[in-house]
């Protein structure tokens, strides 16, 4: 008998989300229980992110929320990849919370969006992670399989 947390939990998250999300977070689509898209905005006047909207893609496994979702920024004509020393230019995010170690099942789609919002809000560095070009060129791995080195846990 497999454990089927994901479907029920995501169904409930979705009904909560449809009743409202915090400011700056919007649901774009949740057509199934595997892949959702959300838009986030940075609400303060941080010049790095002013007047921009960023699109996030969530992918859930069968064992969500025991396992973390895979979360990346996706690029579109009007949706750039935010500049940040922990966000690669292909949209892959290096955030403790989304890693196998840092994840906790009490986190949710909403709380992840809020963490990313505040990660951007607090950033002042107009730069990509070190080795971005090389990483983006060479990476064939899925984000969850990458062993990130959390060189700066204060960000």
């Amino acid at each position: 008998m497999p454990v089927q947390f994901a479907a029920k939990r995501l169904g409930k998250e979705l009904s909560k989300i449809q009743n409202g999300l915090p400011p700056g977070i919007e649901l774009v689509s949740a057509d199934n229980l595997e892949e959702w898209f959300l838009d986030i905005k940075v609400l303060d006047n941080n010049p790095l992110y002013l007047n921009e909207t960023y699109r996030l893609k969530f992918r859930f496994s069968q064992s969500y929320p025991i396992e973390p979702p895979e979360v990346v920024f996706v690029k579109q004509a009007d949706r750039p990849i935010p500049i940040h020393p922990h966000i690669y230019s292909n949209g892959i995010i290096c955030l403790d919370l989304l890693g196998q170690q840092g994840w906790s099942p009490v986190q949710s789609v909403e709380s992840v969006c809020m963490s990313l919002q505040s990660m951007l809000t607090g950033n002042t560095k107009n730069e990509r992670p070190p080795g971005d070009e090389e990483f983006v060129r060479g990476n064939k791995q899925r984000p969850k399989d990458i062993e990130f080195y959390y060189h700066d846990n204060t960000v």
């Binding site: 008998m1 497999p2 454990v3 089927q4 947390f5 029920k8 939990r9 409930k12 998250e13 009904s15 909560k16 929320p65 025991i66 396992e67 170690q101 906790s104 099942p105 009490v106």
Partner: protein
């Protein structure tokens, strides 16, 4: 025929079951049972196939036979000088939870709600004691049974209320007709009586309508204290971590199997550290009794 050929038949049945051919699996389990009618495990296997075939009555027969045979073997192994009675007993309870779980699943579509709830709770108790990985599935079954039982009761209650409303309205009309008969001369007064009575009927209907609306409004989100922060379901068996925060047993155990940390503080936490939260459990039970819809909101 022997126990050995019986087991071979069971294995073959399992292979068909895996492939989704439940009819062939059921036939093979039946052959296995004919070869060795005393092995309780064969009956739960066949019950599993029959569940898929929605043959509820024969699921119940198989599970009851399994439980009967298991109780016989447990009794005899504890009376005889078995080398390892503890292991034998544990194996039996381990399988019994499946019989109980299947019984619950078969009684539910037959609308035997009380039995469905009772068997689900018995299965849950065994799974919780043995930390079985099926605990999450059994926990969901408890909620599902409680929800369906509540919906059934609500349906009856609503029907009764509707009938009551009809009866009250009819009585008021009869009352009016009586009054009108006793006063056939004064046209003014008759009109006044009729008007008063229609107003009363309208008022009664409004009161019943308000009660129905209140029922609907009650079904918003369940209170946070009743909800497990991992599964987002109402808790059936809340257990507390060292921080005082409670989770559904099935959820937190599933998390701890992956990572032995407190979900909130990330400090070390093991299954042994979990403590049942009896008062919260009772509060959740009471809440579900009144708000069964929240069993799957």
């Amino acid at each position: 025929m022997s126990a050995q050929s019986s087991l071979a038949l069971k294995e073959e049945g399992n292979r068909h079951f895996q492939r989704g051919d439940y009819v062939a699996a059921e036939a093979l389990y039946t052959k296995a049972i004919i070869a060795d009618p005393t092995n309780p495990l064969l009956y739960t296997n066949r019950a599993m196939a029959r569940l898929k075939m929605t043959r509820w009555d024969s699921v119940i027969e198989d599970c009851e036979e399994c439980l009967r045979l298991s109780s016989l073997t447990t009794a005899s192994s504890s009376s005889s000088s078995s080398a390892c009675p503890y292991v034998a007993g544990q194996k039996n309870t381990g399988k019994n939870f499946k019989a109980l779980y299947y019984l619950s699943q078969a009684h539910l579509p037959l609308k035997n709600y009380d039995q469905a709830v009772s068997y689900a709770l018995q299965a849950h108790k065994i799974c919780a004691e043995t930390h079985d990985k099926s605990l999450a599935a059994v926990t969901s079954q408890v909620l599902k049974c409680k929800k369906e039982r509540w919906e059934h009761r609500e349906k009856l209650r609503r029907r009764e209320e509707q009938e009551l409303e009809g009866e009250v309205v009819e009585l008021l009309r009869k009352d009016m007709e009586g009054l009108l008969k006793s006063n056939e001369e004064d046209e003014e007064e008759r009109k006044e009586m009729e008007k008063l009575c229609e107003e009363k009927i309208e008022r009664v209907k409004q009161i019943f309508e308000k009660a129905r609306e209140k029922d609907q409004r009650r079904r918003e989100n369940p209170p946070d204290w009743a909800i497990d922060d991992i599964s987002f379901q109402v808790m059936v068996d809340p257990v507390m971590t060292k921080t005082g925060k409670s989770y559904e047993r099935a959820s937190i155990e599933e998390h701890l199997r992956r990572s032995e940390t407190d979900p909130l503080t990330r400090t070390p936490l093991t299954i042994k550290d979990l403590v049942p939260n009896i008062d919260l459990k009772h509060a959740c039970e009471e809440f579900l009794e009144e708000n069964g819809w929240a069993g799957d909101w």
